[in-house]
Each structure stands twice: as C-alpha cells, then as structure tokens.
C-alpha cells in the first residue's frame, strides 16, 4: 500500500503542477503540451483506481486526437500573445476569487465527512484474471444501451455541423487527380512529340553588327 500511496501523491502533484502551467504559460502551444502532461497523469491516476480501459481511452482519445485538434486550432488562430497576457492580468483577481470559492466548495463537499473511508469502503480486490474492459462492455451494451445510441446521434450531429460550417469548395484550385491520371491512354490523351521539318533560315535584311556576329557563331 505504501508504494501506491507514494505513486498517488507523485501523480497528483504532477497533475496539479501541469494544470497550473496550462493556465499560466504565455505561449498557447506550450499550454497544450502541458495539458498533455496533465492528461497523462490523470490517466495514470485512473490506472491506480484499476480503471484500465478508461485510462487508455483517455490517452487514445484526448491525447491522441483532441489535443492534436487543439494544436491545429491554436495554429489556425494566430494568437496575439501580448493582448492575451494583458487580458490575463486584468481578469486575474476575479478568476482568483472564483477559483478560491470553487476550492473551498470542493473541500466542503469532497471532504472526509461526506466521501471518507467509512461511507465508501474499498471494494473487494479482484482476481488477476478480472477484465475491467469486459465488465464495462457487458454493462454499456445492455443497461446503458439507450444512452449509447444517443451518443451515436451526437457524433452524427458533430459530423454534419463540422462539414456545414467549415467545408468550402474552391473550384479555382488547380490540382491533379491521380484516379484520372491512370486512365490516360496512348494516343489523343498524351503529350505527343511531333516532328516538325526545320524551316530554312531566313537572313534578316538589315543585320546589326552584334546580332550578325551571333548569327555566324
């Protein structure tokens, strides 16, 4: 138990430090990279809770996909760092007040009085062949079938909305279509070399001295 506790504190400290860096870094790209660290640490914390599948999907989905999108968006926006910093300082007092209130609330709610070890004892440890992913699947596709299908509809809405809002065709762009390229046949489609008989050289009627030299050469 001792080592697990040690691991927990190390991961929790990393998580909080990384989260602090996310909001204080001036360069948004650095902030996103610290967010990666934060997600990794929380994935490890979940691993400590024996929620292996969720931990891995956190890394796969958030670190693998969502943060890549974040990076794209940040690079698309061309953020002006100086104004960002000014805004940050201006709103800092209010943000601190809200943050402190939230912190006090969390301590009041999640303190040992409400969620301590007495009211929520540890579940019995599972054997080594216990499969967390399988248990999740058994529950998700039977009891939570209806929410699962609604999730599919939400993804559908995301597809439609993203395409509607950002897709613009640009008919003026010039590009090669490989599937048409392979259909090119010998004959009319290809570039042909045509042998043109050379025309007899015409001597210009009045040749300037310089051009006359070149002609002879």
């Amino acid at each position: 138990m001792g080592f697990e506790k040690f691991l927990f504190y190390v991961l929790a400290a990393t998580l909080i430090a990384a989260a602090g860096m996310v909001v204080t870094r001036r360069n948004p790209v650095h902030a996103v990279l610290f967010l990666v660290v934060a997600f990794f640490s929380s994935a490890m914390l979940w691993m400590l809770l024996e929620a292996e599948f969720l931990a891995i999907s956190l890394v796969l989905v958030y670190v693998g996909a969502v943060l890549v999108l974040f990076l794209f968006v940040i690079m698309m926006l061309d953020v002006d760092i100086a104004t960002l910093k000014a805004q940050f300082i201006r709103h800092l007092p209010l943000a601190l007040v809200v943050g402190v209130i939230m912190l006090v609330e969390i301590f009041l709610v999640v303190g040992p009085g409400n969620f301590g070890g007495e009211s929520f004892p540890n579940p019995a440890p599972q054997g080594p062949d216990y499969n967390n992913t399988r248990e999740l699947g058994l529950l998700l596709y039977s009891s939570y079938l209806y929410p699962f299908e609604i999730a599919a509809v939400i993804l559908l809405v995301a597809i439609v909305a993203a395409i509607r809002l950002t897709l613009r065709h640009r008919p003026d762009t010039k590009y090669l279509d490989p599937s048409k390229q392979v259909y090119v046949r010998k004959g009319p489609d290809r570039v042909q070399l045509i042998r043109v008989p050379p025309e007899p050289r015409r001597v210009p009627p009045t040749a300037t001295p310089t051009s006359g030299v070149e002609d002879e050469a």
Binding site: E105, N114, P147, I150, V153, V157
Partner: protein
C-alpha cells in the same frame, strides 16, 4: 440479460425522428439545387407522421423501460406533441426565407430534427445520463444552427457567445449532477428520489449539488442572472433559427427542470423554492424593464422571453400539482406565441433585408392587414390581455402562487407584467398608427399564411376555452 423487444414500443417516435433525419441527410445529397423543395416536403410530412405516432404510442399509465433510462408518462406525451407541433410550424414559416437566401439545404432540416430528437430525449429522460445527453444533443444542434449562415460574421459571433456560455451552463449542471450521483449513489431519478427522501437536506453534498443544478437550469432557460447569452444570440442568429431557438426549447427546458427538481429532488422542495423565487423575481424585473429600452425587435423579444421564464419558474416553485400544470401550460403557450411572433419576423424578411428594427414594422397594417392583426394578437397575448391565451396562462400561474400563500410574489409578477405591457403595446402602436417607410405590399406563401392563421386561432381559442389544453396538463400531474 434478457431484452424485451416490446420495450422499444414507447421510443418509436424518437426512432422515427432519427430515421427521418437520416433519410433527409441522404436524400439531400442527390437532390439538384432546384429540387431542394423536396427536403421541406419530407420534413413536414415526416413530422406529421411522428406526431401521429406519438399520439398512438402515448396514453395510459407511465412506463419506465430500457433499464430505467427512459420514461413515458402523460406529461411526456403532451410535451412531445407540443414540441413537434411548434417545430412543424417553424418549418412552415421559414420555407420562403430559406429558399430566398440559399439556406434551403438539407443540413438545416437535419440539424433542426436532431435538436427535436434531443428535446424528446430530455422530455422522456429518467436518468441523469439520458437527460444530459439529450441536452447536449439539443445544444450542439443549436450552436451549429446559430452559425448556419456561415458568411455572416454576426451569426458566427452569436454562435460563439452561445457556445461558450452554453458549455459553461452544461458544465455547471454536470458538476451538480455528479455531486447528486455521489450523494445518492444512483443515476436513475426514481432511485435518487428515494435516496434523497432517506437522507433529506442534512446531507451537505445534496444541497451543493442542488445549487449547481439550479444554476444549470437557469442557464438553459436564460433566467437572470444567467441570461447574458439570450439577447446576443437572438440578435445575431438568422431569423428562422431564432424562431426555432426561441420557441420549442422552452418546452424542453421545462421538462428538464421538472425531471430534475420534482422527479429527482422533490424532497428538497423547500430548498429549491427559495432559489427559484430569487431567479423568477429578478428575471421578471430585468426582462420587462430592459426590454423597454430596446430598438431591435429581436432583442426586445429576447428580453420578453426572459420575463416569461420568470413566470414559468413561478408556477414551478409553487410545488403543487396545480402549479406544475400551470407552468406546463405556460411553457407550451409561450412556445406557441413565440413561434407566432418570430414567425412573423421571418415572413416579413425578404432577400437582403432582415427585419429586426422596430421601425421595420412601421405601418404594417397598410402593407398587409392580416399580418398586422396577427402581430397585434401575439403582442396582446404576450402582454396578457384577455381574452387571449396569454392572460389565461398568467392567471393560472398567479392562482397557483397565491394558493400557497405567496401573494406578495403574485403582486410583484403583476406589477412587472403591467410594466411589460408597455413595450408590447408600443409594437401595436407602431404597426397601426405609424406611417410606413416602404409601401410595397408583402408577399407571403400560402403555407406560412395557413400556419399563421392556425397560430392566431389557437391563441384566441385557447384563451376562450383553456380547458382544451389545460385538462391534459392537469392530467399529467394527477
């Protein structure tokens, strides 16, 4: 685990809406630009079929299916049909507008139908999870719809504001729900209610969770002080989207509030009553007073929405079956009135000219007396002038509030309604007594004219015979 396929019967309307949206999405891909009217026909007839299906499947005792995540009860039947009818009206109103501006694409119908599906899921939700997923489905579709006119920068700005504040509201709601889950140990509303009854308000976590849930509900309704997104979103979004956004989601928001506060946390009524009193009083005050200063009619109607939300909260906080029935009646009636009001704005907008200033309504009577009469009727109804239905709705809510002894609250509500009547009647004055700036008559399609007449007739008839709708609302909570 065995699965009973008969349990799928109650969700047939939801399945039908999803199938309809998928068909529209696919059919639109193969339609030529001149045939886009087919989308409209499919959507309208599809919604008619879904309304029929909801009626057929509905009725009878409440059933909870799909492992406790879905509930069908008399309330959900009435609310679903109301949402579907209002959405159908909004499709009919916006037909010409969409056609004239090249917005007549399948995506508009698909996103709207997905929003309708989200509302239906919310109305029939029996667990925190389904409730939240339905809410997100609705919200995502609406964010995209607000930015639908993608070359319009004000639409993008409105969508951005709506998205950021909407996400904040969802986040707070989710935070509260997670606390409630932690305290009660269940996501299902029935089990939550049992756990709350057992623990009561002694449990600090429940009370904290309740605060966040009420804030989340306030955001979604647009109640003061969580109303900042409402005027900006209404102003920036295209008119047909405002028509949809301002009407049907209020019915779904009522369902959200009812499911969470009454079905789940009914035992904490004493706690949330006080919060709703504060929200409704400041909503009534800010909504009615700030609306007077508006020159943009969309912003004016946005503030009017905020004041009407105050009335819906008044009915809810009464905590009696009478109060719930009154709030439900009010939400449905408000959606109908809002559909009529925004529908008129959509109909008056023509290519290259968006009707949004109050001056645009000047002398409407000389240009089209039928539309002028309908606009006046909607305004009278929103102001609560008898014999329109708006008066009945306000009367029922006030009656419910007085019957629990909060007569001072009823007095405040009446006071602000009288202030509010000023700006509604000012619109009527502009329509009838001001000289028009342009004299050309308005061209309105026959479909929109029929829909408008139906709305006007409903406002009058329900005002004279409120029992036609009220009995269903009362039966839902009997």
């Amino acid at each position: 685990m065995t699965f009973d396929y008969a349990h799928l019967l109650p969700i047939v309307p939801e399945i039908a809406v999803l199938v309809l949206a998928s068909i529209l999405l696919l059919v639109d891909l193969w339609l030529k630009d001149e045939d886009k009217g087919t989308n409209h026909l499919i959507a309208v007839f599809g919604l008619l079929v879904v309304i029929g299906l909801t009626g057929v499947v509905g009725g009878g005792e409440r059933e909870i299916v799909l492992s406790g995540s879905y509930i069908r009860d008399p309330m959900s039947d009435v609310l679903k049909i109301a949402v579907l009818v209002v959405s159908l009206l909004s499709f009919v109103y916006s037909r010409d507008y969409l056609r004239d501006r090249g917005l007549w694409v399948g995506e508009f119908y698909v996103l709207t139908l997905c929003a309708v599906l989200g509302m239906m899921v919310m109305i029939s939700a029996n667990s925190f999870l389904t409730l939240y997923l339905g809410l997100e489905l609705l919200a995502l579709s609406l964010y995209a719809l607000v930015a639908f006119e993608r070359d319009n920068p004000s639409g993008a700005e409105a969508a951005m504001k709506y998205f950021v504040l909407g996400a904040l509201g969802s986040g707070l709601l989710l935070y509260g729900l997670s606390m409630l889950y932690g305290a009660s140990g269940s996501l299902e509303l029935g089990a939550v209610a049992r756990a709350v009854a057992w623990q009561g308000a002694d449990n600090q976590v429940l009370v904290f969770g309740l605060v966040f849930v009420v804030i989340g509900i306030g955001f979604k309704f647009g109640a003061v002080p969580f109303h900042m997104w409402v005027p900006d979103t209404y102003q920036g979004a295209p008119n047909p989207v405002v028509l949809f956004l301002g009407s049907a989601p209020k019915i779904a928001a009522f369902a959200l509030a009812f499911r969470l506060l009454v079905d789940g946390l009914g035992q904490l009524h004493a706690d949330w009553q006080g919060m709703l009193v504060i929200l409704s009083v400041i909503s009534l005050a800010v909504g009615n007073i700030v609306a007077i200063a508006q020159t943009n009619i969309k912003r004016m109607l946005a503030y009017s929405t905020i004041s009407h939300v105050g009335f819906i909260f008044l009915g809810l906080l009464a905590g009696t079956t009478e109060g719930f029935a009154a709030a439900m009646f009010y939400a449905i009636v408000y959606a109908l009135m809002a559909a009529g009001g925004f529908g008129l704005l959509v109909m008056m907008s023509r290519q290259g000219h968006e009707v949004e200033r109050l001056e645009d309504l000047k002398g409407l009577n000389e240009r089209d007396s039928w539309q002028a009469a309908m606009m006046a009727l909607v305004m009278f109804s929103m102001a609560g002038v008898p014999p329109t239905v708006g008066f009945m709705a306000k009367l029922l809510v006030l009656d419910a509030v007085i019957s629990i002894g909060l007569w001072w609250l009823a007095l405040i509500a009446v006071f602000f309604s009288v202030i509010g009547a000023f700006y509604y009647l000012r619109v009527v004055k502009i329509i009838y007594f001001d000289k028009p700036e342009v004299i050309e008559p308005l061209v309105v399609g026959s479909g929109a004219r029929v829909a408008l007449s139906v709305t006007g007739l409903a406002i009058l008839l329900l005002g004279l015979f409120p029992a036609a709708l009220l009995t269903y609302c009362q039966a839902a909570f009997a």
